[in-house]
Amino acid sequence: MKPHWINVVRATGLVTFREILRDKLLYNIVLFAILVFGAALLAAQLTHIQPERLLIDLGLSGIAISGGMIAILAGSGLLHREVERRTIHLALSRPVSRPIFLLGKFTGLSGIIALNWLLLSAALLAMTAIFAAASGMNIGTVIFSPTLFLALIFLLMQSLLLGSMTVFFSTFSTPSLSVIFSFGIYLVGVNTAELRFAAEKIGPSLPASLLNGLALVLPSFERFAPGTRVTYDLPFGFQEAAGIFIYGLALISMFLAATGLLIRKREI
């Protein structure tokens, strides 16, 4: 028989997964990603140099935006809904610890993020394969690229990290504030190199130290962004790829652990 906490995580995760799956917002976000794919296809047809790269680049952006939006918007209401509707009271009146309940909720959210990622990734690869075939290119060399595969994995990790960060903020703030915090940190986090660059330009001073401090403390989302790597099909080194992977996992674990500590103390 499985340990009790695993059953709790699974059951809570399943209920959360089903709950988010019924949210119309999810389908609007997926529709938005499909529109980005359509725009990418159109742009690729208007391009003569490496059109398949443009298609993949824009497609990856669509997956990143859609995954991020789902993570932030669904993650911000994850606990709030339970507390507001008082369904959390029933769950916590059972022999269930608050951190384990929260882990179950995050598992459900992760399931939705993963499902969205899987469907959109499959759609992007299928669309690219069809485009390559229609343009007389070698399908294998276009879509079976380790760089593209790793870029997709890192996008998934980025969405999960955004989800864990938003759930963390939602333990002590309202859903709208959680969205603002997460989105703000994401915006700064994808520009940490610019923060360092600005600090270097300013020279040794307090503002420069503050900028360097921010770049050090905030999650560096630019590590997960494929950038020009996919465009030029530049391979990731093993150490680099493992480093990004471990960095993402460590941050997710850290946010979940901090959320677990906060929710223990929260009055519900």
């Binding site: 059951a11 709950e19 009271h89 009146s93 022999p95």
Partner: protein
Amino acid sequence: MNQPQDIIAEISGTSQSFRSGFWMKRIPVLHNVTLRIPRRSVFGFLGANGAGKTTLIHLLVGIRKPFEGTVRINGHDAATPEARALIGYLPERPYFHEHLTGSQLLRYFGALSGMSPEQITARIPEVLTSVGLLQAAGMELRRYSKGMLQRIGIAQALLHNPEFLVLDEPMSGLDPVGRKEIRELILRLSHEGRTIFFSSHVIPDVETICDEVALIQQGRIITCGPIGNFLAQGDLTTEVAFSGISLAQAEKIATFQSIREMPDGIRATVGSQDAVQSTLQGLLNSGARVLWVTPLRPSLESLFEKGTQ
């Protein structure tokens, strides 16, 4: 010699407060509450809205920890998994994940209660039958009526076969038929040997089914004990109904506490037991026809009013 009572839940010197406002100031909600709930009793917990009933229930089911004092269930601290495994809880106006079916909801709570999938599968038809919802097992909760939601709430509370049921306003928002059904269900569960603690601000509900009653007002327990003790506290009066004489004639025969004319005769209330005999004699002597004589016990409502004054 009195046998020591077998106590299932004990709340001792418990105070609770909530943080509120910008400065997170503590607002006291419960003040030094002490309560002992006998095993196998039906315990009614009466109080006006905002008196602190739900807060005390949250301490009892381990959702919150008291700021001061202790809450113990069968000797375990109420916040421990051991204590929570013994309790089945129905919150006030329960809200469930409405996208789930009755069966899926029970599976979810079964897993949270530590039951194996086999145990859950075997138990679901039993509890659904006991609350009369077997036919609605596959229906989404969004389609359930208020009464059905209350009953599925009781089903989830019963699922892991707990010894102690804590029901917060179980009859709230139900029509008379629904209230009757829930009352009968509580009595049936009590006959199965469970301890039932339920809060209410509707006095007849408590009066009909409880063995023990506690009254809370502004976070303080005003009074607590067997319901018989409460009802014995008030003055006993007797209602006499008669016809054949006028109201003016009747008023000359005896001093009534109250008297009123009805289409079928006159109804009057006699204050003391001693006065009943002489009043009846006087009525019969004046040619009145006595329709009925009914002793009136004090209602819990009047005692509630007394307590809250």
